[in-house]
Amino acid sequence: MKVYADNAATTAVSETALSAMLPCLREDYGNPSSLHSWGQRAAEKLEEARAVFAARLHADPKEIIFTGSGSESDNQAIRTAAAIGEKKGKRHIVSTKFEHHAVLHTLKQLEQQGFEVTLIDIPASGVIAPAQVERALRPDTCLVSVMFANNEIGTIQPIGAIGELCRSRGVLFHTDAVQAAGHLNIDVEAMHIDLMSLSAHKFHGPKGVGVLFARRGIPLTTLIQGGAQERGKRAGTENLPGICGAAAAFDEACANMEENAKKLTVLRDKLIRELGRIPHSVVNGDLVHRLPGNVNLCFEGIEGESLLLLLDARGIAASSGSACTSGSLDPSHVLLALGLPHEVAHGSLRLSLSEYNTEEEVNYIIDVLPGIVSYLREMSPVWDE
């Protein structure tokens, strides 16, 4: 059996998305900046895609720009807020210890340029409190950046409350909603979000398309200079097939959000319940404020990579930490931020489901996993139970 349970790393492109892409790859190949009919048809499609995101996020189409990845959106959002802060002499940024590296590394770079960054500690639940943000705010804070849902442990942050706090203090609020988009309800208006990053390949759209929401009136900093695409805020011929696929996927995901969540929550909770029975396992993160498809456990005495490889040998795709740091030897910064000791954090397993997964697949995982854990523990010099 083949079970792809790594949907937080990336998802399969939906049929709907692919159908939206193919015409742009075949007949409608014009450049949206061209005056002729080919170009104008492309330009129309581009604006239709923008309108889809705007409508689903309760934003205005003018507030949506397309980038090349969630990471690019994160970089651009944070650099934008920093540039605005810089002008006002405000050089303090509040974020959290378990943000994605696209956020953390950008903040690190800003620190080297004279900004001060306060990273909020993560409670064991994996859900920060708005009061933590409030305590971190300073008169010179120019940005609060808190992710909507964490990519490893799936915990959902109180975005609305943090947004309200930031708005009342006149501080810009960015949320990395890469894991949330298409899975959770997002209303930039009601949640007082000023800047937000999405990535299409996390909701069954294609890779290579990021979305950046920037509230009207926020002058975006341009990372890529050149032509006047995206109102001069992101040069480069638009990836129209990708963008159309992204919009179709997002529309579909939002339309089916409740139904998918209901289905996924059942599968998720079954996995957590059954895998949680494995001795010396810990479930990471809050069980309620959690992405409907996210399961994250640590197995003591187990090293994550071996576990993944053995799961893979049995046809199951899972992850330990986030995909983009899987080349590294360090345990997940997210799990360390949660307060897990290094030796436990090494043994983490993330199963991330999408609506394409079935109960049969979940049962298969539940069948296979305990044996692999025992096998590895038996091989371990440190495991004496």
Binding site: S306, L309, H346, P381, V382
Partner: protein, 149 residues
């Protein structure tokens, strides 16, 4: 594939895995914090100084398990003196290579063998030189005492 077929073979079907109750020498290196621990057991024929049996237990990634397995194969049936000359490069070569960020695991395997031999020497009052006392120190991936460079 991240790993060569040889690595995957030794990872999925590790040779000589398990505890050895009556070992003549036991070496343990690495630590759980950095994510790799290897324990190597050797049985030595006191007449011939040949390693007649070897076992290992490893907590670690795929390449840690594979290098442990390969190291045991390479020293089994060889004289202790040859085992001491086993370099991490030889292990890596025998596995058809390792990704750069995983080379440290092969260092660990080399060390584990040396630690087991040291333990055997200690237990049997055999003298050995300074060079066997220390971690070879060409593992740059962790901050622990045995890692130098």
């Amino acid at each position: 594939m991240l790993y060569s077929e040889k690595v995957m073979d030794h990872f999925q079907n590790p040779r000589n895995v398990g505890k050895m109750e009556d070992a003549d020498g036991i070496g343990e290196v690495g630590n759980a914090k950095c994510g790799d621990i290897m324990r190597m057991y050797i049985k030595v024929n006191p007449e011939t100084q040949v390693i007649t049996d070897v076992k290992f237990n490893t907590f670690g990634c795929g390449s840690a398990i594979a290098t442990s397995s390969m190291a045991t194969e390479l020293i089994k049936g060889r004289p202790v003196s040859e085992a001491l000359e086993l370099s991490n490069h030889a292990v890596v070569e025998a596995l058809d290579g390792l990704p750069p960020q995983k080379l440290h695991c092969s260092v660990l395997a080399e060390e584990a063998v040396r630690a087991a031999v040291r333990d055997y020497y200690d237990k049997n009052g055999i003298a050995y030189g300074e060079e066997l006392r220390e971690c070879p120190g060409h593992c740059e991936s962790c901050g622990h005492e045995h890692c130098g460079e």
